[in-house]
């Protein structure tokens, strides 16, 4: 096309010339027009080419026609003008064209750059915007729209202030003022903004003056970053730290609860928190603690909560209690599972979350958190709150135990201080560590005197007393509650009986750490108990005596009645025979004899018993006088010799035997009893030897026989009442069984003793002593 242009120009020149047929001058404007057109050609060369061809086209006809020189000159001038004009136009046009091109290029560059910028802005992770001096949004990027949860159309109708949380507004307004006044050029802060759906979003914001503008109508560049993720993690971490801090701070549960609830609200951005505890019988949950941010309007909700008892499984809290799982309602206006919903919303509360407090695997309560803003609960927050619930549960448990311990500690301290029983605490090496007032007042010492002097004395006394009882010393191997009584002097010198009871208190690994010693003043008790023991002992022996007496009496009665009835059997039986008659004289005589003997026996029995009774009761009087024992013996031999023909008597009487002081009749009774026995128990005859000897202050008298003897098992009993040797040949020997008993009584009444030696088959020897008359020691007396 371009190539054709010059040819077209020449053709046009010829066509014009031919058409008009006019001269070149006339045709010039036409030529000029053509040249101008050609000059509009794209390149300079083309323009020049076209101009030259046009000039040739102008000249050629003139030359061909051989026109006059003037015409040729004119034509040449015309051609020259044409070329020059073409050159000029081309030059001018090129210059203009070049400028335009540059301008165009510039414009293109700017546009591209702007496009790039725009794309960058849109793609930025940072929300960017311009706001005007009033804080009204001018331009916002998509990101900012996303952060604020609002469309880009919506934002320009709002101000920066309006999308900022109420609590952060004052700071923002102040900062905007400072920026406008130029006092600061950049302000950075973290604040909460309100999203289109009403939720809050934490943002990091930087606002700066846009440079190069007059401050009065300045636009502010706002950069915002959504820091909710970081904020939440920080919040969770801070919450855990704060909760743990409270838990380990040594507070009681009651003291810690407000701090725990407050901490949860502050760190996790809730407005109100309540602790609900399960009843003892686990029938319902009830509010125990309440915390809220400084704001009003919660009273009605609080009252309602306080009046509410939530059964297991009902509503949000009931479900948390039952399941032990965190539960939440993001927007109370949309869910109908919260009984206090209306009151909560009336108080401006819109979100609620509850998490279980777990103690030892059991849900013991729940913490309810409420917030005014609509709040979406994240998984990591749920996890964290579950952990917090368990930690709080453990804390409650520890706190309960601690409280119980403190209480018991206080109780023990009170017991220690007020106990009427003395209590001291000593170290494992015996050093006195502590003493209660009772010990001090008991011993009259102050603590220092007790520690330095009285206590070591007491410890020694304990060990001595323990040693006597084969017990371990106080410090060595104390078993719980070894008790020892010791004598101890008070500061004023009074002696007391103290009862010490030592108990070791082991430390956590079981080593004895301290020893508690209880000190009781048992002086009165001990004195009383000594008296009591004495009284009891005498009572006991009296009882034993009485019992023995009673038994003896019963036995005696039984024996006596037997003796009497045996004697009466003969008397009654034979007298009945005689009464019934029909007897021969011989029979009558014999039976009379039996009756007489038994009657006599009964008489003797009665006599002996009365004697014995008088002697034993001390009512028998002794007619004491001088008695010549040898004479008594000689008379006894003389009497016995006439009646016992089978027995031979021998006297071995000490002629120098002094006179004794005694009751002659009674001594005769003794001797004749012994002699009668000797004869009775020598049924086959034999020898009876009577001997006397002075020995010390006594006269020793012996009556020995060669008769039956007494068996060894009987010999210890021969002086007892109704004890008669009845074995073997002795069985038919008559007697009351009271003779030797009476003999023993009489001898003892004289201040003497009686004993017996015997061997079965060889005979018996009875020996007794009678004290000599005090003033009559001379052997010559009886011959005087």
């Amino acid at each position: 096309m371009r190539r054709a242009t010059p040819l077209a120009a020449i053709a046009a020149v010829f066509a014009v010339e031919a058409a008009v047929g006019a001269g070149p001058v006339l045709a010039f404007p036409l030529y000029l027009t053509i040249i101008m057109l050609t000059a509009l050609q794209l390149s300079r060369i083309e323009s020049l080419e076209t101009a030259v061809l046009s000039a040739i086209a102008i000249l050629v006809p003139t030359l061909v026609r051989g026109e006059r020189t003037s015409v040729v000159a004119t034509a040449m001038l015309l051609a020259l003008v044409l070329i020059v004009a073409a050159l000029v136009v081309t030059a001018v046009r090129l210059q203009v064209f070049q400028k335009a091109a540059i301008a165009q290029r510039r414009a293109d560059d700017t546009a591209a750059s702007e496009e790039r910028m725009r794309m960058m802005l849109e793609a930025a992770m940072v929300g960017l915007a311009l706001v005007d001096g009033d804080g009204r949004w001018q331009q916002v990027n998509d990101r900012l729209g996303l952060i604020l949860g609002r469309s880009r159309d919506e934002l320009p109708q709002l101000t920066l202030e309006e999308v900022t949380a109420e609590s952060d507004r004052p700071a923002l307004v102040e900062a905007l003022g400072l920026l406008r006044s130029g006092d600061i050029v950049r302000w950075e802060a973290e604040l909460y903004q309100v999203r289109g759906d009403g939720t809050r979003v934490p943002v990091s914001v930087a606002i700066s003056n846009t440079p190069g503008r007059a401050s009065s109508q300045s636009l502010l560049l706002v950069q915002e970053t959504d820091i909710s993720a970081r904020k939440r993690l920080d919040g969770l971490r801070d919450t855990l730290v704060a909760i743990r801090h409270i838990i380990v701070s040594g507070l009681t549960w009651e003291q810690a609860v407000p701090q725990l609830l407050g901490g949860l609200c502050t760190y996790l951005d809730w407005d109100l928190a309540q602790f609900w505890a399960a009843d003892h019988d686990r029938q319902s949950l009830r509010v125990r603690h309440f915390w809220h941010r400084e704001a009003s309007g919660f009273e009605a909700f609080r009252e309602e909560s306080r009046a509410t008892a939530i059964p297991m499984g009902f509503g949000l809290l009931g479900r948390v209690w039952q399941s032990g799982v965190v539960a939440s309602i993001d927007d109370l206006s949309r869910v109908n599972d919260y009984s206090r919903s209306d009151l909560a919303r009336g108080a401006g509360l819109n979100s609620v979350l509850a998490f279980p407090v777990v103690e030892n695997g059991v849900v013991v309560g729940a913490i309810e958190l409420l917030a005014r803003h609509v709040r979406a609960v994240q998984d990591d927050e749920v996890t964290m709150l579950s952990t917090v619930g368990v930690e709080i549960g453990q804390f409650i448990r520890r706190s309960d135990i601690t409280q119980a311990l403190r209480r018991s500690e206080a109780d023990h301290r009170a017991i220690f201080e007020r106990s009427p029983i003395g209590i001291v605490r000593i170290s494992s090496d015996g050093e006195l560590v502590e003493s209660n007032p009772a010990v001090l007042s008991m011993l009259g010492h102050d603590f220092e005197a007790l520690r330095a002097g009285a206590w070591p004395d007491l410890l020694r006394a304990y060990d001595q007393a323990a040693g006597r009882q084969q017990m371990a010393p106080l410090l060595a191997g104390i078993t719980s509650g070894s008790t020892v009584q010791v004598r101890a002097a008070t500061a004023s010198g009074k002696w007391l009986w103290l009862q010490l009871t030592a108990t070791s208190i082991p430390d956590s690994v079981g080593r004895p750490e301290h020893v508690l010693v209880m000190i009781e003043d048992v002086t009165t008790v001990r004195e009383t108990s000594d008296q009591l023991a004495e009284a009891l002992e005498s009572q006991r022996s009296a009882n034993a005596n009485l019992e023995k007496l009673d038994q003896t009496k019963t036995e005696f009665l039984s024996i006596v009645s037997h003796e009497f009835r045996t004697a009466l059997t003969g008397i009654q039986g034979f007298s009945e025979l005689i009464r019934d008659g029909g007897l021969e004289t011989e029979e009558l005589k014999a039976y009379g004899g039996y009756i007489f003997n038994d009657a006599d026996r009964i008489n003797r029995l009665i006599g002996d018993m009365l004697d014995l009774d008088r002697m034993e009761s001390g009512r028998m009087s002794m007619r004491t006088g001088d008695v010549d024992i040898n004479e008594v013996l000689s008379e006894a031999i003389a009497r016995a010799g006439t009646s016992a023909a089978t027995v031979e008597f021998e006297a071995d009487l000490d002629p120098r035997l002094p006179i004794v002081a005694g009751d002659r009749d009674r001594l005769i009774q003794v001797v004749s009893n012994l002699v009668n026995n000797a004869v009775k128990y020598s049924p086959d005859g034999g020898k009876v030897t009577l001997s006397t000897r002075g020995e010390g202050g006594f006269a020793l008298v012996s009556v020995a026989d060669t008769g039956l003897g007494i068996p060894p098992d009987e010999i210890g009993h021969v002086f007892e009442r109704f004890r008669r040797v009845r074995s073997g040949a002795a069985q038919s020997i008559p007697g009351t069984g009271l003779g030797l008993t009476i003999v023993k009584q009489i001898v003892e009444m004289h201040g003497g003793k009686i004993w017996v030696e015997s061997a079965v088959g060889h005979g018996s020897a009875f020996h007794f002593t009678i004290p000599l008359a005090a003033e009559e020691t001379s052997p010559l007396r009886r011959h005087a």
Binding site: S558, S561, H562, E563, F564, R565, T566, L568, T569, G570, I571, Q572, G573, F574, E576, L577, D580, Y594, N597, D598, R726, S727, G728, A730, Q731, S732
Partner: protein
């Protein structure tokens, strides 16, 4: 002395009187013989056992307080050999508790001393009538 044989040629009813008291022994012997019984005697417990086992009396009148073994022990020994042997305990231990004690020890009858002669005859008569 009459033969200890009854009219029908059967042995006469024989009573063993065991008593260490000579007077009581004589009394019983006299009364029972007059009542028509044959009487043999023993002076103590051991002798009573010997006589009872060797001579097999029809019954025994036994004192208790005897030397050696007492009447109750003698009765036990006899009854161990001759369970059907009637034994009447005749004792001066005559309290109610004593009577019970003797019956518990196996006595068939108890006769308290002193006794009426008619009582003695009646007791022996009862036992003889049973035969």
């Amino acid at each position: 002395m009459p033969e200890p044989v009854g009219a029908g040629g059967t042995p006469k009813f024989t009573v063993l009187v065991a008593d260490d008291n000579d007077v009581a022994q004589r009394l019983c012997k006299r009364v029972l013989e007059k009542a028509g019984y044959n009487v043999i005697v023993a002076m103590d417990g051991l002798q009573a056992v010997d006589v009872a086992l060797s001579q097999r009396p029809s019954m025994i009148l036994m004192d208790v307080a005897m030397p050696g073994i007492d009447g109750l022990e003698a009765m036990r020994r006899i009854k161990a050999q001759l369970p059907a042997m009637p034994v009447v305990i005749a004792s001066a231990h005559s309290m109610a508790s004593d009577t019970d004690r003797f019956l518990a020890a196996g006595a068939d009858k108890v006769l308290s001393k002193p006794f009426r002669l008619a009582d003695l005859v009646a007791i022996v008569g009862q036992l003889a009538g049973k035969k």
